[in-house]
Structures are given as C-alpha cells and as structure tokens.
Symmetry: C2
Subunit: 295 residues, 2 copies
C-alpha cells in the first residue's frame, strides 16, 4: 500500500470522478484507474461504486478517508520535523475569526513577522465552524475561534476574552425598545458564525421574536446595515469603537454572563509541534494576565 495511491484515492473520492482526479493530479485517467484497482486489490475491498457517470465512495472508502487526511499530514510533518532544528521557519497556516483578525491579530502578526522573518505566515478567516473543520481535517495548523469548543481531537487554550455588545442604530436608546420593533432583523457574518446563535438566544431571552438573519461578508457591511437601521448585531466591544465614536451606531452592553466570550486558539492534539508553531503560541499567549487555561 503506497501513500501516493491513497492520495489518488482521496482525489477521486473528492471529485467523484477518475478523470477529474487525473487532471488534478497531472496524470492520465488510465493511471488513476490502475492505481485505484491496485489499492482495492491490496485492501481487499471495493473503495468505489462505478456508475456510468463517475464513481461514488463506498462505506469502506468513507471509513479510510479521514485516516488518509491524517496520513498525508503526518507525512508532511516528517518533512518539517526533519528540517526543524529549533529555528522557526517554513510556512505556518492559521485561521482566525473575522472579528478577532480585525481586533487582535494585527499587533501579533506584525511582531511575529518581525521576530521570525523566515516563517511564511498565512492567515485565513472563516467562521468558528469552518475553522474547526479545517483544523480537524489538517488543512490549517490551528485557529482562533470562539469558545467553548469540545472535540476529542483538539487541544485549546484561551488567548483573548472579548466583551460582546449589542449593536443597533442610533434610534434605539435602550435594549428593551427592541421588543417594540416588528420584524427585527439580525445581521451576522454567515452560516456557522458562532455569534449568531448567541445573538438569537439573547434576543429570544428578551422576548424578541427575530426574523431570518441577514448574512454579510465583511465587518464594514454589517456596521453600515446596522447604522441604516436594517437590523441589530452582536460584536466585540473593541471592534465597534470607531463607528461608535463617529455616532453612526448605538452600543448596548450586556450582562456580564452573557457578554463574555473567550477566543481560543485550537489545534490538533496529535499534530507535530514545529518551532514555528511554538514561537507563534508563545507570542499569542496572554502575557502575565491571570492564568490561561490550557487543556
């Protein structure tokens, strides 16, 4: 059993087609067919059901799919570990929430880039759900996400604590005015945004019935919509400061227990910890401010 065969398997499974997998892998279809057949014979199971319009992954194939992802990651880790003599270098791919990126990451990234110029740092943004999925499936090294998180394969540590505030248009002076608004809309990033369910439960707790939430892709768009009175949203206090001072929006603080959200840095428990990761964590950890809880 060869790892390259498993990589081919993964590509075929993802595309549902040997032809498309072949072109992705820069090879020919006959080759893909042969490798898959060899793999199937070696394992003694059918990995795909052949249809006239492609293939679909059998339960056997489904079972090994996550293992293949980990296998390729581990193989990459071998390469990294071999060259990693303690001086951080190579590339480091982390994820972050849109809000965390805007509010907290900038100083961290500049300092990291200055201290470790040999590391190619890549940051992708996404929702907590997507980022967790990326970490679990070894697509990124780690990510800043909104807590709490429970997953057996992940380890986490709290790096920031945000105070969430309800953001509305200037017309709304007190929170309980929201009850009087018919057809109140909530504005969130996109599906999987962890602030969204928080906002929903908060509003339901206040007796406010909310309509279907609107989704936007950027912070600026959200704030604009809120400012225009289209709906309300929930954001970290620090991030709405400028817009607040400009008088574009109104900010309503929440009771302590509902307003606190922890930003965690999560990564796979079994991932190889390169020097670059160590260095990044060192910088990201809250310095001399209480005791951060790691698990």
């Amino acid at each position: 059993m060869d790892v390259s065969d498993l990589v081919i398997f993964e590509a075929v499974s993802r595309h549902g087609s040997m032809n498309r997998a072949a072109s992705e892998l820069n090879t020919v279809q006959s080759n893909v067919t042969a490798r898959i057949r060899a793999l199937e014979e070696d394992l003694g199971v059918n990995l795909f059901q052949r249809h006239p319009r492609g293939v679909s992954t059998t339960p056997s194939g489904q079972r090994i799919l996550p293992l293949v992802a980990r296998l390729t990651k581990l193989l990459a880790d071998v390469r990294i570990a071999a060259r990693d003599d303690g001086a951080p270098h190579g590339s480091l791919h982390v994820g972050s929430l849109e809000t965390t990126t805007a509010l907290r990451l900038s100083p961290l990234l500049t300092q990291f880039a200055k201290t470790y110029p040999d590391v190619r740092l890549i940051v992708s943004t996404g929702t907590t759900r997507k980022l967790l999925d990326d970490v679990i499936n070894c697509r990124i090294e780690g990510a800043f996400v909104a807590g709490p998180v429970t997953h057996p394969d992940l380890c986490q540590e709290t790096v920031f604590t945000e105070e969430l505030v309800l953001v509305t248009s200037r017309q709304i002076r007190r929170m309980d005015e929201l009850k009087d608004i018919a057809d109140l809309k909530t504005i969130v990033f996109q599906a999987g945004c962890s602030y969204r369910q928080r906002l929903d439960s908060l509003l339901t707790g206040m007796g406010v019935i909310t309509a279907r939430p609107l989704e936007f892709g950027s912070l600026e768009a959200i704030i604009s919509c809120v400012s225009a009175g289209i709906g309300v949203t929930l954001l970290p206090k620090g991030i709405v400061g400028p817009a607040w001072q400009d008088g574009r929006i109104a900010v309503h603080e929440l009771p302590q227990d509902e307003g606190q959200v922890e930003t965690l840095f999560v990564r796979r428990r079994d991932a190889f910890v390169s020097s670059a990761v160590t260095a990044f964590l060192q910088l990201a950890r809250p310095r001399a401010s209480g005791a951060p809880h790691a698990s």
Copy 2:
C-alpha cells in the same frame, strides 16, 4: 518520500547498522544504503552519522522517529478500517498488569472469546511503565495499567478499583511490628512496577527503612517469598485470598486513602477505534456501578 523508506530508516536507527537492518528486512545492504541516501536527499538532511562501526541517528533522525511509528500505525489502521464493516474481527493486542490479569481478566477474556470468535485477542503482561510505553509507541492497542496516568497522547477510563493490602508472613500480626524488623525487604515484580513506589512511600510513611527491593517475575514466587518471611509486598486484596485462607501469609488492610488504586484502560487518543476495540471496551467497562470517569 515513501513510507517503506521510512520503515527502513526506523530499522537502521534501531539497529545502528545498515547491515543488520538489511537482514531484518530480508534485503541486501546496498539496498538499505541506497534507500537511506534517497530519503536523506529527499528530506535535505542527514539522518545518520556514519562511523566505521555502524551509524548513529542524528537529531534530525531522532525527531522523525516517533512520527514514523505513528505513520506505520496509521497505515495499518487504514487497512483495518477498510475491512472493518462493524463486525469485530482481526487481531486485538492489549496489555495488562500481572495482577490485573490474574484477578480480573479471566472472565472478561472468556466472554470476549465466546462472543467474538473472529477476533484474535492477544494479551501481553508487563509493568505500568512498560505497558504505557507500548501503547504510546503503537505496539499494542491499549492496556490495563495502574492509575493515575497523565499523558497528553493517551485517553483513559477507570475499569476496576482495587484495594491494596500489605502482605507479610504470618509472624507479623500488626503493621507496626514492621518497624522492629531490621533489614526489611520489599518484594516487587520488576523495575517500573507501579505498586513498588506505593509500597516504598507507605513504608517510609510508617517510619520503616527499607532495603533494596527484591524482584520476581511471577505472583506465586512473590507469595512464596513473603510466606517464607523474606520480605513484605503490596498486592490487590482479591489476589491473595487463596494464599490467605491457606494460612500461608498475613494480610494487613491499609487506610482507605492509601489502599485504593484504580485500574485504568488506556489507549492512544488518536488511534483508530476498530469494531474489535469497541466491543472489547464494551465488555471491559464496569457495568451499572457508579459513573466511570473517562477522559
């Protein structure tokens, strides 16, 4: 980078010799040399320092060694996962303490063998230290060991709780008589036995100075020695029952907090959980008796 090359690397590293690695792998030395050189070129580092009397693993090699072990395990898991359709089969290699095996495992094993005849169950015995090492390095699926255990790569659950008792010859009627014995010897299994340090700390707590412990390989030998008055030992209460009733030895109960020891079943957190493992855990778990704590 090929996994087979990494396997060769592991063998060379273990033997400190390409010749010996070659004969273990049923190939020729020239082949091993070529594969190692190819691997080194691929990774861009020297994995071995060549001496006139063999090779020694460089720091780079040391770093990738544990990853290689996990890689081969993962590759084996792929094979297992592909064939594992839910009906437990294949082989299952677990470890157990000598005492746990004698005291608790027999009914579990017979029931498992009866219920799942398609599983080749293999049990090796050893000390807690050795078993943990075996589990961590993927040599066995899981093991029954004495708690507490803290290791980031392991997950554990309590399956039994043993009451440890101090076992002495019949001459000793009360525990404090031990103080009067000059040159008291302790008798334990072997280095790494977890009961050993417990026994040491217990006796030191009683003000008893102990000599160098004697080590034996079997339960029967230990009990014989204790019976003959050569020394004292610490064993689960259940296991000394027969010898106690025969009047060969004396049993002294310990205070609650010092006498309780938990037998945990540990396994790698990132290991593939086959149907066989699931079935085994199902049988091993304490049934309807309090809430076992899993982590």
